[in-house]
Symmetry: C3
Subunit: 464 residues, 3 copies
């Protein structure tokens, strides 16, 4: 077979080892900050991200209505502890910010253990771990601690302190836009409200920050928007301020829990067959990924908001292990030991593969559709006939030629043939270079409206 | 979770133990009567049913054409026996009415055993049982007896007597109508032509009689028609006299063999995806039912006539064990020991669940479709965040809200979510009470024509 | 059951034993001829076929453009050998024409073994077999020999001779048309370019020749075209000269490798659900065939050309073992011992079954669609009721009556019922004879356009 080696793919130029280390380092920097849906932790997190990419800082004042919701007051937490009868801090916010239930009202009191227990939440099934709990929108106070330690507390009077305060302030979020040739967007979304949890969610924040920064050097068809916002209320705030932009979002991913060794797991958008769903399902069906694809359900991260019936956006959820399925989830065991540079790098690579599909899909039209064109005289085919195997590269060319009737995009061809999109795209590029294929966008007369992505224009300079 | 307990469902008010006993008692009363497709046995059976519900008695005279058929003469059977050479009745209609093949012509003769054997039908594989056989529309006579007894008959001359007669008379059937808010109907159909067979078919007659009587106290959207008619010719007679009503039948069930411990088994209508098919398939997919759903086939009970291509009615067949699959089928072993009150009660409960779906389906429209509405401030959601499980009730609310776009009825939502219709319906009711949902029938502008049942009007007084 | 035995089917009149022997004998006659895509071997093969059926000989001159291709010069091979240092012919075209790679350029030289080896192709994994190789469209020369013999060659100078020549000549092919009542065609295609390979492809040539001859005595609805043409370039030549006929081809089969004991295997056309695909899938799903159905892929025989996007013809591929999956494929082991008369007869019978479906499909309309018609009084139904099993013949009648609404052809009814087409067709014929069915073509008002085949007219004299 007389073929040149495949052209370098974007992801082949990437040094995944150092990328994984870089994402891990950024996650480690974000980990100690005590975040909530509002307050100084969110702003400090956006500061850190802002040192890597030029995010736009946005905010919405406390009390402003956001669809059915209202932006809450800012919550500031300075300290929280329980002192036992001997004066020892048996719970200490400075050791772990998970000890205080998010949005707890301030308290400073002395009470007997029996009374105090009503305000202590433990995980009897995981007795050494501290749970992560919040109490947004409900005026109450609670603390979390390890069940085993709680069991050992002696009777007596305890001093309990939550040094928190509420004030009219704002809800902060940040966004970053990588401009492509088109205004059509690929939205990446990460929530920014979790305190010291490494997989859920420092991993996603760090990965998307590095991805956004690296995209700067790449000319793309689509524009890429990165949204770093507190869960639920933050996504709703962005949606309410950007309703006019929503039709521009052609693909979207919520990215979470991308630092552990499970999965990968993709949850489809509500539509179920959006291009992001098809691209993800295709990649995860390849033997090297062997991932899991789940149908949409309305419980999860901010895809709940994006996929609400009033928006019905093509946004899915990418994770390694699915939330709620790993024992470290929402506990103090979701720490920096739980996530690993190689898993972060693997997730990054998976996202790059999907971007390559979204960017690289087009609808070929066979210019020699009656019978097969003679690949041999173009040096595209084994010179010696009678091979028992057709060869993968030749098969990819035959599939492209056969389905290049203007109704199949490269992704459709990959789906029907069962071959990897990258092999199909390489074959199509070769055939295009040899004048055997036209691009339906250049010659729309031959193309069916159903093929390819939704982009009208396509930059000449961008590799297919 | 701050939720009130679910509202009492119709079926929760039912005492199934006493219901099962009541149905069994009625089946026992019907069992001894010797029925055929015409004659006094049918009328006596309708008399018994008429003591429980106010059925309308209908009849068609012998000789009248019914589509491709003709109503046969009435057949009256008074006695039938075989006397052996010693004068003993070795076959005796008074011991079991299965001994005589239905519609046998009269005979009174003495013949040698070799000749007699040509008129005796036995079951060599079930040597102690008497088979149930009929010979409608063919002038012949035959008797059934246990194979083992037949084998023991000594040679000699036998006296055989079938004291039957044919006369111009009528084909009888009965129907009962429970009027609902709409003229649209749910048809229940049971055949009334089988002699002493308990499961097939006294169980169905008894269950439907009790159901019809109990419906009197329930305000319903649909009207419910109960048809008690001889198999094939009776169903055809009803169809021929009610062709104008057929379009009103939106759902239908033939109910048979509902007293044994197998199944439940549902056979789809010819359409395959009528609402009755979807409702049955949904209920039987729930773990507590774990029933079997079979595709339509044109062999069976009167669904054969309802689903003939000229009618193509949405009528399926509900059974416990499927006919022909249990060894007692069409033998003397299908007696009152074979059916049990608890199985009759279970079938009754299953039918009530399906009625609850047919009555309770509606198409919700989310009045807060952009993002999720804030369930927490309405007391509809766990006050303490961070739960590992979302909770079944919360999931049901999220599913309803997510799919309440006017194209999904509650049954569609149950199907897509995999949750029980009753959970979905409860969630929808709660959300409706809190002003989060509209009903597409009240606000048709927001609803797609494909959603919900076919009823135009809906009574205000009826619970959703 | 009072039914007459089924009418004799076409295939029941066939003596398959003698047919298998006849096909085998013809394959044996074709086997020794050295064919290529052009040249005297092709013409001699057409001569042999022409002694059985009255084929039209067609040709295209060398140099003529055929779509993207050009008809090559004729290749004539007279002799080819290698003489070892002792003068012995260690490779000899006269012993096996596989020794010379097809379209090798002439050579006559003496060279050391090391140089010669560059032109010898062997199969190390099958060391006793000679491979079949070609080098069309590339000026080169090569020889094939058994790997084990090649390994034993002593060092020294070897004389190599390929006595071939190229000349402006022509590409030959032959076609035979059996005219039916309609101009619509069923195309059978076999390639004629392989040298001494028995299964691939003498089996197909011989089978189709005998089939074409035997069809002469059968009045058919469709016209049947048999094409015997060199692979790829021959099919393309036929397509280029018959573009106006392509829309007439309603069904097509490439027939290959039909003499071995594997399979049967059917590869769908590109359309996937053409009538030939449905008929083949139906027959192969029957327990007596238990064959394999594969989705279309663009690698294979001349279905590649017929199914190219510019034609997209409804042409599938029928084989026993699929090409490339049996070890004898494209080696000297694909000889006359590898194919067997009984396998050839089996393939013939399978094709007849498919022809019976294509010929015998029609769309029945139930003339008594309201309820079931009374089969009993027409002698079509068991006289004695209460049978536990409905009986296969009765089931077939019930299915036909139930689905005879003008939207289901007999093939559709066979598909939905899971019963054999032949049983459904027999039942339909019986019901038609009893006046219970009309034929949608005779009474088009009642028929839906989607039913049945595409034939407009239908000869009265042809059995259904």
């Amino acid at each position: 077979m007389n073929m040149r080696p495949p052209p370098e793919m974007h992801r082949d130029r990437v040094d995944f080892d150092s990328l994984g280390a870089e994402i891990y380092a950024l996650a480690s920097e974000l980990y100690p900050i005590c975040r909530s849906i509002t307050g100084p932790g969110v702003r400090r997190t956006l500061d850190v991200i802002g040192r890597h990419i030029d995010i736009e800082r946005q905010w919405v004042p406390s009390g402003e209505a956001v669809f059915d919701w209202t932006v809450p007051q800012e919550w500031t937490i300075r300290d929280a502890y329980i002192r036992d009868p001997q004066g020892r801090r048996v719970v200490d916010f400075n050791r772990s910010n998970l000890h205080v239930v998010g949005y707890s009202t301030p308290v400073r009191a002395v009470m007997p253990l029996s009374e105090l227990r009503k305000h202590i939440f433990t995980l009897p099934g995981q007795p050494d771990l501290i749970a992560y709990r919040t109490a947004y929108y409900t005026p109450t106070w609670d603390l979390c601690m390890a069940h085993r330690e709680c069991q050992l507390l002696p009777e007596g009077d305890y001093e309990v302190c939550i040094d928190s305060s509420f004030s009219d302030g704002r809800l902060d979020y940040g966004e970053y836009l990588h401009r492509g040739a088109s205004e059509s967007e690929f939205l990446f979304s990460a929530h920014i409200c979790h305190p010291s949890l490494a997989n859920d969610y420092c991993s996603g924040l760090a990965l998307l920050t590095v991805l956004a920064r690296n995209l700067r050097s790449r000319a793309t068809r689509y524009s890429y928007r990165f949204l770093f916002a507190p869960g639920t209320i933050g996504a709703l705030a962005w949606l309410s301020r950007n309703e006019h932009r929503i039709p521009l979002v052609e693909h979207g991913l919520v990215v979470s829990c991308v630092g552990d060794g499970g999965g990968p797991t993709y949850k489809r958008s509500r539509r179920g067959n959006a291009m992001i769903d098809r691209a993800m399902a295709h990649v995860l069906s390849l033997p090297q990924w062997n991932g899991t694809v789940k149908d949409f359900s309305p419980y999860g991260y901010d895809e709940r908001q994006y996929c609400s019936p009033g928006f019905d956006m093509p946004v899915g959820l990418l994770q390694n292990s699915a939330f709620g399925t790993f024992p470290e989830y929402h506990t103090s065991a979701d720490n920096l030991d739980f996530i690993r540079p190689e898993y972060l790098a693997r997730s990054y690579r998976l996202i790059l593969e999907v971007i390559d599909i979204i960017e690289g899909d087009w609808t070929p039209i066979n210019l020699s559709p009656k019978g097969e064109p003679q690949l041999g005289r173009r040096g595209l085919y084994a010179a010696l006939g009678g091979d028992k195997a057709g060869g993968e590269a030749a098969m990819a060319m035959l599939w492209v030629l056969n389905l290049a009737d203007g109704t199949h995009s490269l992704l459709s061809i990959a789906e029907r043939s069962g071959m990897a999109f990258s092999d199909i795209a390489f074959a199509a590029r070769l055939l295009h270079e040899h004048g055997l294929l036209a691009d339906a966008r250049e010659d729309p007369a031959g193309a069916d409206a159903s093929g390819g992505g939704g982009l009208e224009e396509r930059p000449v300079s961008v590799p297919i």
